[in-house]
C-alpha cells in the first residue's frame, strides 16, 4: 500500500479527460486556426457591429461606407437608461428569477420521480411533458389573453411567470432526469447502507451530485425566459413589460435610430450574455443533457 500512497498526484488524472488530443495536421497549425478566427469573426460581425454602433453618434451610424473608426460616446447608452429602461429590466429579472425557481421547485421532484424512483407510466409522463413543447404557442394565446384579462393578470409579471414556468418545465424535467440518471446506483446503495433515509439521501447525497446539472438546467431556463418575446409582447405592456417589450416600444416611439437602437439592444441582451459567457460549460452540459461531464 505504501507504494500507492506515494503516487497521489499522477494517478489523480485517472478520471480527468486526457488533457489534449493528438491530431495529425496536414496543414500547418496556423492555416486552420486563422480560418477559424476569420469565420468566427465574420459570423458574429453583425453583433460586433451592433456593439460598435451602440457607442456612435447617430450621424456616425448612418454612413456609406460604414464607419469603423469614430469617437465613441456613451450618449446612446445613457439615453436608453434615461428613457425608462430600468423598470423593464427589473420586470425581466423578476420574471426570469421567479419562473426559474418555480421550474426547479416543481421540476426537481418530478425529475426524481421519473428517474431514481420510477413508477409505472414513467414513459407516458415523459412523453406528455415533451408533447406539450410541441403544441404551438400561438394556438393558446387567445384563451390565455382572455383568461389573463378575466383574472386581472393581464399586464402583470405573474401572467408571464406562470407561462414561462409551464414553458420551461418540460424541457427542464427532461434535462434534470438525465442528470439524476447519472447518479451511480452503487453510491445510492452505499448511502442506504450507511443509514441514510430518503430525505437525507436526497439532501446530502443526490442533490450535491446533481447540482451542476441543475445549475445547467437553470441557466437554460434563464436564457429562454429572458429572451421570450411572444407572450411578453401579447400579454404585457407598460406596467409589466420585459426587455423585449421595451425594445419594441422603443423603436415604435422613437423611430429607428440605429445608434440608440443598438444601445438598447445591447443593454437588453447584456445580462444574459454575461451569464451565458461565464457559464458556457454549463450551457454545453445542459444542452447535451449531461452527455459531457
Amino acid at each position: 500500500m505504501s507504494t500507492a500512497t506515494a503516487t497521489a498526484s499522477p494517478a489523480a488524472t485517472d478520471t480527468a479527460p486526457p488533457p489534449q488530443r493528438k491530431t495529425k495536421r496536414r496543414y500547418g497549425p496556423g492555416t486552420l486556426t486563422v480560418a477559424t478566427w476569420i469565420i468566427a469573426i465574420l459570423f458574429v460581425f453583425p453583433l460586433l457591429w451592433m456593439i460598435l454602433t451602440a457607442f456612435k453618434q447617430e450621424n456616425d451610424a448612418y454612413t456609406d461606407p460604414p464607419k469603423l473608426f469614430f469617437s465613441p460616446t456613451f450618449d446612446q447608452i445613457s439615453g436608453v437608461l434615461n428613457s425608462g429602461f430600468l423598470p423593464y429590466l427589473g420586470n425581466s429579472a423578476f420574471v426570469t428569477v421567479i419562473s426559474t425557481l418555480l421550474v426547479l421547485l416543481l421540476g426537481i421532484p418530478a425529475a426524481y420521480a421519473l428517474s431514481l424512483a420510477p413508477v409505472k407510466g414513467t414513459k407516458n409522463a415523459l412523453g406528455f411533458f415533451l408533447s406539450t413543447k410541441m403544441l404551438p404557442i400561438v394556438a393558446a394565446i387567445i384563451p390565455l389573453y382572455v383568461i389573463s384579462q378575466n383574472t386581472n393578470l393581464l399586464d402583470t409579471v405573474w401572467a408571464l411567470i406562470i407561462l414561462y414556468t409551464a414553458m420551461n418545465l418540460p424541457l427542464a424535467i427532461w434535462m434534470m432526469r438525465s442528470f439524476f440518471l447519472e447518479v451511480p446506483g452503487e453510491m445510492i446503495e452505499a448511502a442506504r447502507i450507511d443509514g441514510a433515509n430518503l430525505p437525507t439521501l436526497l439532501r446530502k447525497i443526490i442533490m450535491p451530485v446533481v447540482a451542476p446539472g441543475i445549475a445547467a438546467t437553470a441557466l437554460i431556463c434563464v436564457i429562454f425566459s429572458w429572451t421570450e418575446f411572444f407572450y411578453a409582447v401579447n400579454l404585457t405592456a407598460a406596467r409589466a413589460g420585459t426587455v423585449p417589450v421595451f425594445l419594441v416600444g422603443f423603436i415604435t416611439s422613437e423611430g429607428l435610430y440605429w445608434a440608440q437602437l443598438s444601445a438598447a439592444a445591447l443593454l437588453a441582451s447584456l445580462p444574459v450574455m454575461i451569464v451565458g459567457w461565464i457559464a458556457q460549460n454549463h450551457l454545453v452540459r445542459g444542452l447535451s443533457m449531461g452527455a459531457v461531464k
Binding site: 500507492a4 500512497t5 452503487e186 453510491m187 446503495e189 452505499a190 442506504r192 447502507i193 441514510a196
Partner: protein, 360 residues
C-alpha cells in the same frame, strides 16, 4: 460485535414467466469472524447473494440471519453491515474524512467520536494525509482504501465486499489482496467477499463458496476445494490453469488414457459401478514428462506457454486436450512428441458424467 451469518434456503427470484432464479435455495453458514469468499463465473448469482445479505435485493424465499437476528426483511441500515463496492461508490462532494464519517454522523455520533474513529481507520489504511481531499484527487488504490475505511469506521458485525479489487491494476491488486486479508484477521470481523477471480478466492478466504447458475456447488476450505472438488464444475473452475477433464471409457483396471491405463482407487471403482465411462480429471501439475521407454501416454505438443519457472504444454491425446506443467528451463518445442505420466497416486479425480458429481 462480530457475528455469524446464516443463509437459510434463501432465494432471489426475478419476476417473469418463468421467474429467473438468480439465487436458488442458498444455504450457507459463516461462523463468526470467518472470511468467506463467494466465487463463480458472471451470472452465477454471487453478487446477488451478497446484495441479499446487504438488503439491496429482496429475499423471496427462505431467510437470512446475522447473529441471532433474522434480517430477511430489515432495511440495509438496520442490518449492522458495511459494504465495499466495486466502483467504491464514494461520495464525490465529500472529503475523505466526511466520506468515512458519514455513516457515523447519521447514527448520531459526536464529532469527537467520529474524528477519533476516522483518524484510527485512516492510520490503519495509511490515509491520514488525504483526509481533506476529495475522492477526485485520489489515485485508484487510495480510493479503494477510502472505501475500505468507510466500512471499517462503522465497526459493523459483517463486512460485505463486492469485487473490491477489480478496478485496480494487477500489481496493486496483489498488494491490496494481502492487506485486506491481514486487516480482516486483525479486526476479526466476519467478512463475505465476492469475486470472479479464483486466485483471489483461494488466497483470501478461510472458506470459499463456489456458485453456478444461482446454485451453491461447494463450500469448503481452499485446499479441500482444490483437492476434493465436489463436482466437475468446481474441478474445472478452481485451479489455474484448469484441471484436465476428459470423458474416458472405464476398463477393468481403470481408465484408458492413450496407451496408458490409469488405475483408479477402489472407492472410485465402487462408486462407478454400472457406468461405462467417467469424467476423468487430472491437474496439469499432477503430470510429468518421462523417457521414451517409460510407461505413459503420447502427447503431441501444439503450444508451449513459458512462464519462466514453469512451462505449460498444450496438446492432444486422442480428441481430448491436455495441459501438462513442466520445468521451465528446458521445455519441449511445438510439434514434439512427448511421453507423459502421472506424478503420483491419489491425484486423480473422477466424476459421474451425468450428475457431474465426484465419484469416490
Amino acid at each position: 460485535m462480530s457475528a455469524e451469518v446464516i443463509y437459510d434456503k434463501a432465494s432471489r427470484v426475478y419476476p417473469g414467466n418463468p421467474g429467473v432464479r438468480a439465487v436458488d435455495q442458498l444455504s450457507l453458514e459463516v461462523p463468526d469472524g470467518d472470511f468467506l469468499v463467494l466465487v463463480g463465473p458472471s451470472g452465477s448469482g454471487k453478487s446477488t447473494a451478497l446484495r441479499m445479505l446487504a438488503g439491496l435485493e429482496d429475499v423471496n424465499e427462505g431467510a437470512i440471519r446475522i447473529g441471532d437476528r433474522d434480517v430477511t426483511d430489515l432495511p440495509p441500515k438496520d442490518r449492522d453491515i458495511a459494504m465495499v463496492f466495486q466502483s467504491y461508490a464514494l461520495y464525490p462532494h465529500m472529503t475523505v474524512a466526511d466520506n468515512m464519517g458519514f455513516a457515523l454522523k447519521l447514527r448520531g455520533f459526536s464529532a469527537a467520536d467520529i474524528k477519533k474513529r476516522v483518524d484510527e481507520a485512516a492510520t490503519m489504511l495509511d490515509l491520514s494525509r488525504f483526509l481533506d481531499r476529495k475522492p477526485k484527487a485520489l489515485s485508484g488504490g487510495q480510493r479503494q482504501r477510502v472505501a475500505m475505511g468507510r466500512a471499517i469506521v462503522r465497526e459493523p458485525s459483517v463486512f460485505l465486499m463486492d469485487e473490491p479489487l477489480s478496478n485496480l491494476d494487477a500489481k496493486l491488486r496483489v498488494e491490496t489482496r494481502a492487506n485486506i486479508a491481514k486487516l480482516q484477521q486483525r479486526l476479526g470481523t466476519t467478512t463475505i467477499y465476492v469475486t470472479h477471480d479464483q486466485v483471489e478466492a483461494m488466497t483470501m478466504g478461510d472458506r470459499v463458496a463456489v456458485l453456478k447458475d444461482g446454485v451453491l456447488q461447494q463450500c469448503d476450505a481452499p485446499r479441500s476445494l482444490y483437492e476434493k472438488p465436489a463436482n466437475s464444475f468446481v474441478a474445472g473452475f478452481i485451479g489455474s490453469p484448469a484441471m484436465n477433464l476428459a470423458t474416458l471409457p472405464l476398463s477393468d483396471g481403470g481408465v484408458q488414457l492413450g496407451d496408458l491405463v490409469v488405475p483408479l482407487p477402489t472407492a472410485v471403482r465402487t462408486a462407478a459401478a454400472g457406468l461405462s465411462e467417467i469424467v476423468f480429471g487430472i491437474r496439469p501439475e499432477s503430470l510429468r514428462l518421462v523417457g521414451e521407454a517409460d510407461e505413459g501416454f503420447e502427447l503431441v505438443v501444439e503450444l508451449v506457454e513459458e512462464l519462466g519457472a514453469d512451462a505449460y504444454l498444450h496438446g492432444k491425446v486422442g480428441d481430448d486436450r491436455f495441459v501438462v506443467r513442466v520445468d521451465g528451463r528446458t521445455p519441449p518445442r511445438i510439434g514434439d512428441n512427448v511421453r507423459v505420466a502421472l506424478r503420483g497416486e491419489g491425484e486423480t479425480h473422477a466424476f459421474d458424467p451425468k450428475t457431474t458429481l465426484r465419484l469416490g
